[in-house]
Symmetry: C2
Subunit: 141 residues, 2 copies
DNA sequence: TATTGTTATACTCTATAACTATA
DNA sequence: TATAGTTATAGAGTATAACAATA
C-alpha cells in the first residue's frame, strides 16, 4: 500500500466517523435509532429472525440486540414469539405497522443527507453513487 | 430526486452509520478517540486554535470540545494558554510529542480499515478512492 | 448585552460479565 | 458442557442548560 493510499485511508476513516456522528445527531427525537431502523428493515424484508441472527448481521453483541429489540417491541413494531424448534431461542417478527414506519422513518432520517447532497456537483454525485455499494460491502465485512 | 437516488441515499446513510460504529469500536483502548485524533491532527497541522474554532471545525458543541481538549491535556498532548488579544478566549497548542502520537495513533486506528480494504477488488478500490474527497466534503458541510 | 469557555447533568448506544433456561 | 437470550453494570461520547468572566 502506497503512502498516498495510507493517507486516503486516514481521510476515509475520519470522514466516515464525522459524517456518522452528524447523521446520528441529526435524526428527530422520536425516530428510530440507526440500529433499530436497520433491524426493522431486515425483518420487514426477510420475515422472522432470531436475536442471535440479528446481532450477527448488525455486528453488535447479543445484549445490545436485546435492547434494540426491546425498544422496537415497546413501540409495537416487532413481536417476540417462541421458536418452533428450539426453546432456548425466540423469533422476532415485524408487526403490521412496521413497514410504514420503516418507510417514514427512513424518509425523515435521510432528509438531512439528501439536502446536503444537493450541494454536490454532478461529478461528485456520480463518484459517490459508484462508491455506495462498496461502502455497503465494507460495512458488512 | 429519483426513487433510485432515494434508495441509494438510504443505503449510503446506513452504511456510513454501520461502518462508523465498527471503526469506533475497533480502536485500541489506549488510543485517542476519533474526535481527539481529529483535533490533534488539526492542531499539529495548523498551530494554535481556540476551543470555539475547534468546535466549529469538528461540528460539535463547545462543551463537548472542552472535554476533548481536557482529555488531550491530561495526556500532555496539548497546552492551554491565555489568548493574546481576548481574555475570554484561550489558545490550544499541540505539544512536542503530539506529532508522533498523531502518526502512531492514526496508523493503529487505520489498521482495521486497511486490512478490510484488502478484500476489495481493484474496481471497488478505485470507486472508493474517487469518493473519498466527496465524503470528506460532505462531512464538513 | 453578547460572546467565550466551563461546569453540571443527562441521555443514547454499546460493551463485558454474570445468570437462567434449554440443548 | 455448550448455546441462546437476558439482566446488571459500566463506559464512551455527545448534548442542553446554567454559570462566570470578559468584551
Amino acid at each position: 500500500m502506497s503512502e498516498a493510499d495510507r493517507a486516503a485511508v486516514a481521510v476515509l476513516r475520519a470522514s466516515v466517523l464525522k459524517l456518522g456522528r452528524r447523521l446520528r445527531n441529526q435524526r428527530a427525537d422520536e425516530s428510530l435509532s440507526p440500529t433499530q431502523l436497520s433491524v426493522l428493515t431486515i425483518l420487514v424484508a426477510r420475515g422472522a429472525m432470531t436475536p442471535g441472527e440479528l446481532a450477527r448481521h448488525e455486528k453488535v453483541q447479543p445484549p445490545s440486540m436485546t435492547r434494540v429489540i426491546a425498544g422496537l417491541e415497546e413501540r409495537g413494531l416487532v413481536r417476540r414469539d417462541p421458536h418452533p424448534e428450539d426453546r432456548r431461542q425466540i423469533t422476532v417478527t415485524a408487526t403490521e405497522p412496521a413497514a410504514e414506519v420503516v418507510a417514514e422513518s427512513r424518509k425523515l432520517g435521510n432528509a438531512w443527507l439528501a439536502a446536503h447532497l444537493e450541494a454536490l456537483s454532478d461529478e461528485e454525485l456520480a463518484a459517490l453513487r459508484a462508491a455506495v455499494p462498496v461502502l455497503e460491502r465494507l460495512a458488512q465485512l
